[in-house]
Amino acid sequence: MNKILLIIQREYLIRVKKKSFIVMTFLGPVLMASLFIIPVYLAQIKDSDVKKIAVIDETDIYQSTFQDSESYHYEHLRMSLDSAKSRLPEMDYYALLYIPATKVVLPENAVIYSTKQATLDVRNHLRNLMKQRIESLKLEASGIDKETLNATRANINLTSIKLDESGGEEKSYAEVAMGVGFISALIIYFFIFMFGSQVMRGVIEEKTSRIVEVIVSSVRPFQLMMGKILGIALVGLTQILLWVVLTFGIYTAFAGFYSDTLDMKAQQERIMTQQNSMTSVLGAQQQEAENTEAINPQVNKVFDIINSINFGVIIGSFLFFFLGGYLMYSALFAAIGSAVDNETDTQQFMLPITAPLILAIIVAQFVIQNPEGPLAFWFSIIPLTSPVIMMIRIPFGVPTFDMILSMTLLIAAFIATTWLAGKIYRTGILMYGKKVDYREIWKWIKHRNY
């Protein structure tokens, strides 16, 4: 047992100290955090840039339409279009909006002149303003009061509430559950591949560098294999942990930095107080919730979404299914590594391993539409696909029976593949210069003694 710890320690340290690990560890969270940060940051930039727009309105209908805002500043020019056009390059305007006079109909045509190509944003903005003005004029003309029209507008809020077995109620957000499920399934898929092939490459390295016979004269081949698998599992867990911590850290730092302009803190505080008031009055909880929804639907929604994700269950099952799936597959990866002399020979044996994983990702897209269907059930029970498919189902809520069955089978499968891989491994690692095929491997498995 002491020796297996030594092997785990070596496998772990050698990888954690690698440059590529350190680079990945820091680059991963930066990429992930930038997914949140860059849109916000870009929004910031846009706000600070005020565009000056000259307007020549020959109809005089739009006098009050173009009001200065944070991003736009308007000036009405009293000059002919030709002189304005000729002087546009020397004047400090982003664009010139020309609305020609009309005789009978309402002026619905306009032209934008600019030295640079006017952006879609600017064009949409101006078009909307004009559209609103014309619409209200048309309403007036047909005798419909604007308020009457507004009163006829309806906004449907469909809140979906999930009832659990004990009768409790929980708002469900299918889109969020989908997102969380799919992302964690995808991460499990990538990690099984990434760390599984690290196990395989490690075994091949030991074989090609010819150190393996020295090692197995001190430890049993099975110990060497398990030590490698467990050491790399720890590397994977370290990577995940660092990513979570760093991503959260970067995001928090960024959010804090921009908190004034984004008013993040105020929002969070409001959420906190609402939460307190909600939980303090247990009986009237539902009603309170509805009230607050009416008061501030936006904030309430954010709060509800965050609450609807059961982080404890998701993180716990993520770790279980990541480890279970990884241990099951990496034993097979180790067996492949032991059977070949170099990485190029691995191709023919990779298919049976990669096929179920890729199938799982394909099936995932259907499971996400119907997480309770028979497809979802079977693929989340069969161990070869369960680590990926179960992660998709979990955010939607999984019956306890399914969960226990899936977990038990995964553990059983991990023990079975490890036992099988151990038999291949102990023969394979000492076999050099032999072209190995499936029949040969089957003989190794059947052979009672090594």
């Binding site: 050698i14 004269s217 049993r220």
Partner: protein
């Protein structure tokens, strides 16, 4: 007393029989040569002693006890297919291998430093293995093989890949280790080193042991009563004067002397031959022809092949 005894070891692989009821006894503090052509089964026997593979039948005893997993800490093994982790630092790697052999961390560090000093390779400690030449790596491998002071050392083709200088250092270290009490099993094709080093040998061919024993005894058995002699001042023809009990195998006539290889047929003795030769000329030299291990090896393997063919 025999330090290592292997009794009736048989091992069947999927496609061929590697060992067929092979027994060897390795006396304590001796150097035991395990000889045989490629694919004879030597490496399989060595792996069985190292508990890397298990025999189908037969038992191995070490120091009187049946072989068990704990014994690996007393065995130092330098396999034929050997190497090191290329990306790992030399010192770190040696420490790791020593700890796998149950040497405590501190003790491993102390012993390694001493060995590195002795081989004058202190500066290699923090180098990566891939920066070292093959010969340098062999030195590290040798150190890691013996660092845990094993009572039994097993070298499989230890001299392959060594330059003559390092091969000589290795040879001397092996002899020194025996003096200090270690028992050495040593598998090789290099018959010259067998002559220099081995006390006992066993010859394995096609999964069977075909010859074993003390080297002196074996050589004696194969010495065959043949002598070479150099004569000067010949009084007549050797062929005419020599007694019928003596069979001339070859002669070589030089300017002033005659060289001859003569077989003594029993019941005549070498002394009879000397007396006979004294009458023919002046004896400059008289030596028994001792067959080389190389000759014995080839002769046995070929004879064995003939038996198997018939």
């Amino acid at each position: 007393m025999d330090f290592l005894v292997a009794n009736d070891i048989s091992k069947q692989f999927i496609n061929h029989r590697a060992l067929n009821s092979v027994s060897i006894s390795v006396p304590e503090q001796s150097i035991f040569g395990l000889l045989g052509p490629n694919g004879a089964g030597k490496t399989t026997l060595i792996r069985i002693i190292n508990q890397i593979t298990a025999p189908d039948s037969g038992t191995v005893f070490m120091n009187g006890q049946r072989l068990r997993p704990g014994h690996v800490a007393q065995i130092g093994y330098l396999p034929e297919e050997r190497g090191l982790y290329r990306k790992m630092k030399v010192g770190e790697q040696a420490m790791y291998l020593a700890q796998l052999k149950d040497v405590p961390r501190k003790e491993a560090h102390r012993r390694l430093k001493a060995w590195f000093k002795k081989f004058d390779i202190d500066t290699w400690w923090d180098k990566k293995v891939e920066e070292l030449s093959k010969g340098m790596q062999q030195k590290i491998q040798f150190i890691t093989t013996i660092l845990h002071n094993p009572k039994l050392l097993i070298f499989d083709e230890p001299f392959s890949g060594f330059d003559p200088i390092n091969a000589n250092i290795l040879k001397e270290e092996i002899l020194k280790l025996r003096e200090e009490g270690a028992t050495v099993i040593f598998s090789t094709h290099n018959m010259e080193s067998v002559e220099v080093l081995c006390d006992h040998i066993a010859l394995i061919h096609n999964a069977n042991k075909i010859l074993d024993g003390e080297m002196k005894t074996i050589k004696k058995a194969y010495s065959n009563n043949t002598f070479t002699t150099r004569l000067t001042h010949l009084k007549g023809s050797l062929r005419a004067e020599l007694h019928a009990d003596f069979n001339i195998l070859e002669t070589h006539q030089a300017d002033d002397h005659l060289q001859a290889k003569i077989h003594v047929e029993a019941p005549a003795t070498p002394n009879d031959l000397v007396r006979n030769l004294m009458q023919i000329g002046e004896i400059n030299s008289f030596n028994e022809v001792i067959p080389s291990m190389n000759d014995i090896f080839i002769r046995n393997v070929q004879e064995n092949n003939l038996i198997q063919q018939s």
